[in-house]
Amino acid sequence: MTCTDFQDKLPDLIDGEAAGEHAAHLKSCAACSDLVSDLRAIASGAKVLCSADEPSPRVWANIQRALEAEGLVRTPRQAGGVLTPARRHWAPAWLVAVAALVLVGFGVLIYQNRLVQPTQVAKETPATLTIATPPATLADDDLQLLTQLSPAMRDTYETNLKDVNAFIQDAQESLARNPNDEDARHFLMDAYQQKEVVYQLAMDRTQ
């Protein structure tokens, strides 16, 4: 069983116990085990959420629509919807809402996961999502280094330093946005190594 197979059944496993090959996968896969633990923690944490205000009927309707759109629940047979809370029992309904939000979130994730199949060609990403590379600048140390180079080499090194600085700035911003992002951390290390190479080559030229 793969992680994708397991995550297909994730909504059923949050509240109950995994059995059979799902249980086996849960034991052997740290990533899925962590995921289930996190989800259960969220669900149990929701129990301590205290709110005097009951969510409005519009919230329930939105959740209902989202769940239906993801195919996670069927259209209710009776008017009022399966998620319409009984006013006297707001606490269980609130839990259902939290669970529903979790399910919707993971429904989206699983849906995205399914789309990235091995033989599939990714579609073009909308241009509006593209973030421009930050403008390249030079630090004082960079400028000092450049002054030590011959004029013939200066342009080459200036261009490369700007490119590398843009790499560093980009990686720093990514890491600032997502401090736990391993990739951003690796990018930052790679970017600094690139700068180290530029400095090392430049120092060789100034000797």
């Binding site: 793969t2 995205q112 091995p118 033989t119 579609k123 190479v197």
Partner: protein, 282 residues
């Protein structure tokens, strides 16, 4: 009239050539070294070529463009070092030196050249190349580590096996053809990275860029697991991958993919900030 003018032009060219040849100087350096010798050539301007010699001889020919440059050489133990020494009035043109070196195949070779080109072939000692804009071509290296640091020069490695390959190129494109080993690592800022090969039978392959595109062309029978991520660029996979048993992240459509091929012998990580990634079947 036209004929006389033509003859005059030819005469000028011939005279210029004669002067250039007369100004250039050819020097030859010969050393006998032991096993695993170390050879370093530091050339500011001009090409460097390294090939294997028959025995334990290091033979280096240097053609100096003018008297504005000289070659300093030294041999301490089994360490041979040649360096272009620029003199007063040297320019990239008149300080050019062409080096052709024959070294024992097991020698460790280190070459530094600003504008190159640099070429090394058929060696099995460690190889270190550094350059600014120098074109670098390395082929038929086995059982040795290859390290390349470059600013903007294009780098091409062909038939490199069974050693660590570590390349850092800021702006130059990197082409790897049939390059395998326990570690193959390429980092680039704006340069493209192109890999054409089968990822070997058990190694770590890390191709990383900032904005340079990454492309890998793989035969159908290759054995590897791959993780490809682009933070802002597109990813495209034309290779028939199987889903991985365990994944540590959820792939994002159009930005990343993961999967395995064959027995997943090698680990492949393709990572870029804003470049495109493409995995293709050969």
């Amino acid at each position: 009239m036209v004929t006389k003018q033509r003859v005059g032009e030819v005469a000028v060219v011939v005279v210029a050539c004669v002067i250039a040849v007369a100004a250039s100087e050819k020097k030859e350096f010969k050393y006998t070294v032991g096993p695993r010798a170390s050879v370093t050539i530091n050339n500011q301007f001009g090409p460097v070529s390294v090939k294997p010699s028959a025995g334990n001889q290091v033979i280096i020919t240097a053609i100096l463009q003018s008297n504005k440059v000289e070659v300093d050489d030294s041999k301490i133990g089994d360490r041979v070092e040649l360096k272009s020494h620029l003199l007063q009035g040297a320019t990239p043109e008149n300080a050019r030196v062409e080096y052709e070196a024959f070294v024992p195949a097991d020698a460790s070779v280190s070459i530094h050249s600003t504008n190159g080109p640099v070429r090394a072939e058929q060696l099995h000692g460690d190889l270190t190349l550094e350059g600014d804009t120098a074109t670098m071509e390395v082929h038929d290296i086995s059982d040795a580590h290859v390290h390349v640091n470059s600013l903007n020069g294009p780098i091409t490695l062909t038939n490199i096996h069974n050693g660590h390959v570590e390349i850092s190129s800021v702006g130059g494109d990197v082409m790897l053809n049939s390059v395998t080993g326990p570690l193959v690592s390429v980092t680039s800022t704006t340069g493209k990275i192109h890999y054409d090969g089968d990822f070997g039978i058990g190694g770590d392959y890390k191709l990383t860029s900032h904005s340079g595109d990454i492309e890998a062309i793989i035969p159908a029978d290759a054995s590897f697991d791959v993780t490809a991520k682009s933070m802002r660029g597109d990813v495209q996979n034309d290779f028939p991958l199987q889903p991985k048993q365990h994944i540590t992240f959820l792939p994002e459509k159009g930005r990343s993919f993961v999967g395995t091929a064959g027995r997943a012998a090698s680990s492949v990580l393709l990572r870029t900030v804003s470049g495109k990634i493409r995995l293709k079947k050969r």
